[in-house]
Amino acid sequence: MSVAAIYFDGESSRKHAVTLNMAATLEITEDGKDLAAWPYGEIRRADGPKNVMRLKSSSAAPLARLEIRDPAAQVEIGKLCGGLAREAGDDVSTLRIVFWSLGAVVSILAVIWFGLPVFAERVTPFVPASLENRIGDVADRQMHALFGTKTCIAPEGVQALDKLVGTLTRTAGLDMTRAPAVLDTAIPNAVALPGGKVYVLKGLLDKAQSPDEVAGVLAHELGHIAHRDGVRRLIQDGSSSFLVGLLFGDVTGASVALTAGRGMLTSAYSRDAEAKADLFAGDLMGKLGRSPKPLGDLLMRITGPQTDNPLAIFASHPLSADRLAMLEKNQVTVTGQELLTPAEWRALKAICQKP
């Protein structure tokens, strides 16, 4: 049987109108002249338009192509060549792509979950203090951008704050180079930046009922500084968002699914860090002969009772009730003297009032 076809030899763009002879091999001839002979076993499908059977041969030039348009001849060739069953193009089956992709996702998540905490733990000690201070300065500017630059400066209040922090840092043996400050915002929180800067937000002072509550919060934040949690967190967050962002690209869907996942992962680290900072605070208050329990009381007042929830793993801090219970365990009988006099306490509460 002989069939008309189009042949390109892959060496030149010349178009050959050829005749195919289905002998022992597929003989390609033009005007009686032999151009090529393709063994049936080496013939593969190449990507072509609909209704055109485009073929290549593994022994011919890589771009040599044979195009058959006649449907009957296409069937005939299909019978002779065993290698035509597979579709042209993709080198890997879709099922394998899906399988290996999911494998890759699992392994990346495992690296983020198990590998990065260890990585950050090991790398943090090698971050020089000077670099940490620089990160702190950048974070400081961001804090001001976020909450405004209104630092509270009533002189008696600043004095009281310095006294309180001084007592705590001396006892903890921390060398603080940056003075703590109060920011005028209603959010009840406190933040320790890398490099040792502590910010107390005014909302927290408003909710506090005793110097020990504020001292507890400050001790907790000093715990973060002592443990260099800021740097560790930066390394963990940076690396995980880097991995997730770079590997998955900015692709439909993937980012949505992974944002939830990443929130869970990073908050898991921070929950561990928070628990350790609480321990540090309990220990420090104990050294001063004061109870750490007021810290727990203040937390409960701020967050209100939180119901337990299977999704607690999403929360960045342990539940307040758990923290209160943990701090109560460290309860000591109060032996030390008050950390602030009543007058100093009033001055601290009024630190944001204009004279």
Binding site: E11, S12, A61, L63, G89, R134, F314
Partner: protein
């Protein structure tokens, strides 16, 4: 040499012209993209390499010139490997970038600008190498296209031009396009047939200056909206809003909004002008390209994109609202979710609901985008093309080696890859 050439008998073959044609079916592409987008979701994005390869294969194999279809021989696996190599280069780079950025950011808030510039230059390098890879996998009549030239030289040019364009408020854009395209086409070959680019910045400017001028209308419209709103805000405070002033503000905002309707027209006209100018500047030896692409076609396509996008969004929005009502009817307490959020918890049902409502929308929008911004434009452009002096490509000899997909990998990681 010259003497010999001129002394030969003149036997120039008659000029042959061929119309290009796109033979693909819209339905086939829609199915390919829908399936690919769903697989991208199922594989957390990894399928994107294979989808890109499949998309290009579909487009090229259904593009015909003188009855012979093109072929795209690139594979998803190549793209994946290129991407992994790019990662190996970029990871240390990003780390260094972070540390240097930290250092200079401390000195001055905007001191990291040179780094942004560096990233821009790097992305231009990637753009060049990505084009080189894609062209290298494109073949016609058993001969591949290929590119030489240097990505670094290209990046330097692109950077210099970006500076000039900024300096001239965009007026230098046509000359930038012409100069960069000249560099790319000068290093482009089909077998042993060298390419070049003959269109000039001046001709692009002559065709498109009025679009640039008209684009000031929506900009002015935006200013009008902001101005009207500011005026209303100022007078609402002092309680001096007379009915006449209210009407004035209303007219101002409405006129501003109406001017936004110009944007799809202007963008469509600009794209059509750019495509036609680019096509008509292409040369391969004697071979040249003509195009009868009309601005109306391109504008129509953008309006279709907007229309279909709005329709899909509306339908999914209605389904979502019905779903929410049904869920409330079945006893889901939405108010409780807000309370739980405040307490620092995210209800699991809320995440599920969010995904159920949001995912179909972004998937649908991404499918619509790919159909109208990739396949429909490809089809329109291909069908507009007539190749003159196609006999110049009759006996081209194969030349040019395979190159790796590293450039494409870099472009992908830097998020500058075209479709």
């Amino acid at each position: 040499m010259n003497e010999i050439v001129t002394s030969l008998p003149v036997s120039a073959p008659a000029e042959r012209r061929a119309k290009a044609a796109f033979t693909g079916q819209n339905g086939d592409f829609r199915r390919l993209i829908t399936r690919g987008t769903l697989l991208e979701l199922a594989t957390c994005g990894f399928y994107r390499f294979w989808l890109a390869a499949r998309t290009r294969r579909h487009l090229w194999t259904h593009t015909e010139l003188e009855g012979d279809a093109f072929e795209y021989t690139g594979t998803g696996r190549e793209l994946l490997i290129g991407f992994l190599f790019a990662l190996a280069i970029l990871v240390p780079f990003y780390l260094a970038y972070f540390l240097v950025g930290l250092e200079v950011e401390r000195l001055k808030a905007f001191a990291s600008l040179p780094l942004v510039v560096f990233i821009y230059g790097f992305s231009q390098f990637a753009v060049y190498r990505a084009r080189r890879y894609r062209l290298n996998r494109t073949t016609w009549r058993g001969i591949r296209f290929w590119m030489d030239g240097s990505g670094i030289a290209y990046a330097c040019r692109a950077f210099g031009w970006a500076f000039l364009v900024g300096l001239t408020l965009g007026l230098a854009h046509p000359w930038r396009e012409a100069s960069l395209e000249r560099y790319k086409m000068r290093h482009t070959h089909y077998g042993d047939l060298p390419g070049r680019f003959e269109a000039t910045g001046g001709s692009f400017f002559k065709r498109g200056w009025w679009i640039w001028a008209l684009s000031l209308v929506p900009v002015a419209g935006y200013g009008l909206i902001i101005g009207s709103a500011a005026y209303a805000g100022m007078h609402a405070k002092t309680g001096e809003m007379t009915p006449a002033a209210t009407a004035l503000v209303g007219v101002g905002i409405l006129t501003g909004l109406l001017s936004f309707l110009l944007i799809p027209f202007l963008y469509g006209a600009y794209k059509a002008t750019e495509w036609k100018w680019w096509l008509e500047g292409i040369r391969f030896g004697e071979l040249r390209v003509a195009s009868d692409l009309r601005r109306g076609q391109m504008i129509g396509n953008y309006w279709k994109l907007i229309g279909v996008g709005a329709l899909v969004t509306t339908i999914i929005g209605i389904v979502d609202i019905c779903g929410a009502f049904l869920a409330q009817h079945l006893g889901v307490d939405f108010a409780a979710w807000g309370a739980q959020m405040k307490a620092g918890h995210i209800p699991p049902l809320m995440i599920a609901a969010y995904l159920a409502a949001y995912l179909p929308l972004i998937l649908a929008i991404s499918i619509v985008n790919r159909i109208y911004l990739v396949q429909r434009i490809w089809k329109m452009v291909v069908n507009s093309v007539t190749v003159c002096h196609i006999e110049a490509a009759d006996a081209v000899v194969a030349k040019g080696d395979l190159v790796s997909a590293l450039g494409e990998g870099l472009a992908d990681s830097l998020d500058v890859a075209a479709f």
